[in-house]
């Protein structure tokens, strides 16, 4: 019903779904009897389904030509069905004997978020043990990270590294061909290159690598781990809404994964977002004011960090397909409670959207795929140029590294919000403890200042301009900015100083526009 290409309205009678009878044959091979139905009426037998599933993965990678042979790729494993399925696909793809096997060098990362989700140390150990079984069985080098390590990240995480540009189309083919030739040369006794590399790595890494402290092993490390855990719990405790907690968790997790990737030399990260999960994410991000960055947040490749590119090879699989595959072919998963496990229905935007979308999908079976396809039609918004300096280079958000979307355009929603805030508190309440002389009753207030009764208001007012619209909302729900990890605060400080510097010498700088007239 919901496709806009259709004339509006749909049918008069309720749409009669094609009934699949038991006597029907697999729609692909037409011989075996089907074991499952995917999409609306496609019945597959086990073998054909497997082929369909595997083919989709390889086609996704091949079509986008994002992963070059010999590249190191970090798989982000959460233990959930989609990422576990992704791991299995990578295993299968690499192990094929034929020439068409996948040719990159995988590693795995698992991030333990138990502290934030309210799990006790024992529970976390238990989960980690289960995960390690899976990780070791994969045969790939793996990294166990704890979210607590976020406090030890360098502030370079928040800076875009120079992007090593991918060569022109031809070079992908050449790279592949060159790789095959090299492999053939090395054939004859010794294992092929990627396998050898993996074995080397295994020996080298001793199977357990963490950028920071392990946190659970040595007593000294254990103590530091406990301090960090405390800090983490305090940070999330200072976030008032579940929505903001979820957002913050995602941001921190992404930073940690990125850091591991950079530290260990991975140039790509694979995330296991399924089509269903991306449809939810699209609507959620819309509701969070992140309309400008939908394309990078949900597209196949996300290059906001510059040197490390995040890819989402599972994006065309529906959750149902993944679940069936895992069940039929014994893909192990580990359940870990998330932030919103057992939360109320309307506790966070994420929950609301998820529940809504699944409910609507039951009535209109094309909803999820329509939303997904709509997302595919989006592109990255051109970041707004810094109005103050007129520099061509758009500013990037401190936390999510997306282009800032907060230039106040005339007649925009953002402007209306600022005006409303301003008009609703023209005078500060008399009992303000800081006694800030912020001109009570004056017209001009800080562009984005909040209710300034809190003592840390100054810091907050300096912090917010560095963030995109969506991240601003998250930080507005955070009461104590001091509990943010050091790397965030120091990078914020650095940017602030730099901006002040630039302002001071503004008149002496020869701007880009002088060199490239007309570029804004």
């Amino acid at each position: 019903m919901c496709q806009a290409q259709e004339e509006y309205g749909g049918c008069d009678q309720p749409q009669r779904r094609p009934r699949v009878s038991c006597a029907q044959k697999c729609m692909k091979c037409k011989e075996a009897s089907p074991v499952l139905v995917i999409r609306v009426g496609d019945a597959f037998c086990k073998a054909c389904f497997r082929e369909y599933f595997v083919h989709k993965f390889r086609a996704m990678l091949g079509k986008n030509r994002a992963i070059y042979p010999g590249e190191k790729v970090l798989l982000a494993l959460s233990g959930g069905p989609a990422s576990s399925s992704m791991l299995r696909q990578v295993q299968e793809g690499l192990s094929r004997e034929i020439a068409k096997k996948l040719r990159f060098i995988p590693g795995i990362i698992y991030v333990d978020e138990g502290a934030v989700c309210g799990q006790s140390l024992a529970e976390r150990e238990e989960t980690l043990l289960q995960m390690e079984t899976i990780l070791q069985a994969s045969g790939f080098p793996y990294h166990l990270a704890h979210l607590e390590e976020v406090f030890d990240l360098p502030s370079s995480i928040l800076q875009r590294a120079p992007h090593s540009p991918a060569g022109p189309e031809n070079s992908y083919k050449e790279a592949v061909e060159g790789f095959i030739c090299q492999q053939r040369r090395e054939e004859g006794g010794s294992p092929s290159l990627p396998e050898r590399r993996i074995q080397e790595k295994l020996a080298e890494l001793s199977m357990r690598e963490a950028p920071g402290t392990e946190g659970l092993a040595a007593p000294g490390a254990r103590l530091l781990g406990a301090v960090r855990t405390e800090q983490l719990v305090q940070l999330f405790g200072s976030v008032k809404t579940l929505t903001a907690k979820e957002e913050l968790l995602q941001t921190l997790r992404n930073h940690l994964i990125l850091h591991t990737a950079r530290a260990q030399g991975y140039s790509k990260v694979m995330m296991g977002d399924s089509c269903t999960r991306l449809a939810v994410k699209l609507l959620t991000n819309l509701s969070l004011g992140r309309g400008a960055s939908l394309a990078v947040d949900t597209g196949f490749s996300d290059d906001r960090h510059g040197d490390v590119v995040v890819v989402r090879p599972m994006r065309e699989y529906s959750a149902k397909e993944i679940a069936f595959y895992n069940h039929l072919f014994g893909v192990p998963t580990v359940f870990t409670p998330a932030l919103d496990t057992k939360a109320l229905e309307k506790a966070s935007i994420h929950r609301v959207i998820e529940r809504f979308l699944f409910g609507l999908q039951a009535e209109f079976p094309s909803t999820v795929s329509t939303v997904y396809r709509t997302g595919e039609k989006l592109s990255t918004a051109p970041g707004d140029a810094d109005p103050a300096t007129g520099a061509a280079e758009p500013q990037h958000c401190l936390l999510c590294l997306c282009a800032l979307d907060t230039n106040v355009e005339d007649g925009s929603a953002l402007q209306a919000i600022l005006v409303s805030e301003q008009l609703s508190q023209q005078r500060l309440p008399a009992a303000s403890p800081a006694g800030r002389g912020c001109c009570p009753g004056a017209e001009e207030q800080r562009g984005c200042c909040m209710n300034t009764t809190a003592p840390g208001a100054d810091a907050r007012a300096d912090f917010l301009p560095l963030l995109c619209y969506g991240c601003r909302l998250t930080i507005k729900d955070t009461t104590c900015l001091e509990s943010l990890p050091l790397y965030v605060r120091s990078e914020a400080e650095r940017r602030k100083c730099r901006a002040a510097m630039k302002l001071e010498i503004q008149e002496f700088l020869l701007e880009d526009e002088a060199v490239n007239p007309g570029e804004s």
């Binding site: 806009a4 400008a292 609507l360 929603a413 919000i417």
Partner: protein, 399 residues
């Protein structure tokens, strides 16, 4: 007066929970700091007294009008007046602000009579009351007059679903035609922030990239129809509009349209309520998202042309209204609804349709008398044949 914190919202729905900042001091207006607060405004969560809220709301609308450059001095503006809360507040505000700030506008009230017995009569009465109080000229265009079909008659032929299609398409043209008749340069409609947010959600859910590109109504003055339109209230929360009307003592008509219990917009509306409960700023956040969406440059989107029959704006050879009317006049009301291009082409080429095809297009069954004239229907909506669903007054929906 002044004791209750939040007036009962006529539009219904869940009250937004208290904002996240717990008030540490007694509820004094945060704008003037002296009077006790009479309400907590949904948009920002601040506690305000009556006077400050009214002043803030008026000032915000004024700034939105100025910043968006919605009007030029000397323009004639037709205000789409349905008698509902949004258009009543809009008319009131535009008149007030025009006098206060000297916009230099000629304001008119333009009302559309869809021919829904019991519903439209009452709301038109509200418009007339407003007209008497404000002294603005009023013009009413009716579907029957423009198209020869009233909504009552259409619904009788069409059944319980898809009435919003007809009403929305017809209303859009009706407003344009009425505005041209009155010599207006612009049409101002009372779309509010909730409408915009719902539209963004809806267009995403239905994959309507064409409308997403148009900013989901975020552009201040749209040139899509024959007459440019603007939405001065598009940043105002629906609840604040009700608050304003309440505290200003404005009189309006509010009830649900009986023909639209199953409109798809209802889903988006329910979702928006839940989102607002989870985070009150979600309404504005969606508006911001809608403005900042950008589409891939390589997409093929419908181009704007004109209807071959009536000359109205259309992206197909015939405008939607003409297609719908064609179906109605031929006794095949579903002609414009659903994918029936092949059948439409058949008709266009003059080929006869089979009985099955006619049935699918909604032709009346054998033996049913054809409607020759408008029977007088029973006023009132005690009989709700198609169920009641909480919806506002239908707007000129974008199709």
């Amino acid at each position: 007066v002044g004791q209750c914190v939040r007036p009962a919202c006529r539009a219904g729905g869940a009250e937004t929970p208290a904002p996240t900042a717990a008030p540490t001091m007694p509820a004094t207006c945060s704008a003037c700091g002296s009077s006790p607060a009479a309400l907590r405004r949904p948009k920002t969560g601040h506690a305000l007294c009556r006077a400050c809220f009214l002043a803030a709301f008026e000032e915000e609308t004024h700034r939105a009008i100025v910043a968006g450059r919605l009007f030029r001095p000397g323009e004639t503006v037709a205000i789409g007046a349905s008698g509902g809360k949004d258009s009543t507040v809009l008319a009131h505000l535009l008149q007030l602000l025009d006098q206060r700030h000297g916009y230099g506008l000629h304001l008119l009230l333009l009302s559309v009579d869809e021919g829904i017995t019991g519903y439209r009569d009452a709301s038109l009465a509200a418009v007339r009351r407003h007209q008497r109080r404000s002294g603005l000229p009023l013009h009413v265009v009716s579907y029957r007059q423009l198209y020869g079909w009233s909504m009552d008659r259409i619904a009788r032929h069409l059944g319980p679903r898809n009435n919003c299609t007809f009403c929305g398409v017809f209303r859009r043209q009706a407003l344009d035609r009425g505005a041209l008749l009155m010599g207006a340069d612009k049409i101002a409609t009372g779309h509010n922030a909730d409408d915009v947010a719902e539209t963004v959600l809806m267009n995403f859910l239905r994959g309507d990239v064409g409308r997403l590109r148009r900013g989901a109504g975020a552009g201040p003055a749209g040139g899509e129809g024959a007459v440019p339109r603007c939405k001065p209230l598009r940043h105002a929360y629906e609840k604040e509009i009700v608050l304003y009307a309440y505290f200003q003592g404005l009189d309006y008509f509010s009830t649900e349209c009986v023909y639209a219990p199953q409109a798809y917009r209802g889903y988006a509306r329910a979702l928006l309520k839940d989102l607002e409960a989870a985070r009150p700023s979600a309404v504005a956040d969606l508006g911001h998202s809608g403005e900042r969406l950008s589409l891939r440059p390589d997409l093929r989107l419908p181009a704007r042309g004109t209807c071959q029959r009536c000359g109205y704006v259309a992206s197909q050879p015939l405008c939607k209204a003409c297609v719908l009317l064609e179906g109605l006049d031929r006794g095949l009301p579903k002609l414009g609804i659903g994918k029936y291009r092949r059948l439409r082409d058949k008709l266009r080429d003059g080929q006869p349709l089979t009985q099955e095809e006619r049935r699918r297009l909604g032709a009346p069954a054998e033996g049913e008398p054809s409607e020759e004239q408008e029977p007088r229907g029973e006023p009132g909506t005690d009989e709700e044949p198609w169920g009641r669903r909480e919806l506002r007054v239908p707007r000129d929906l974008d199709f």
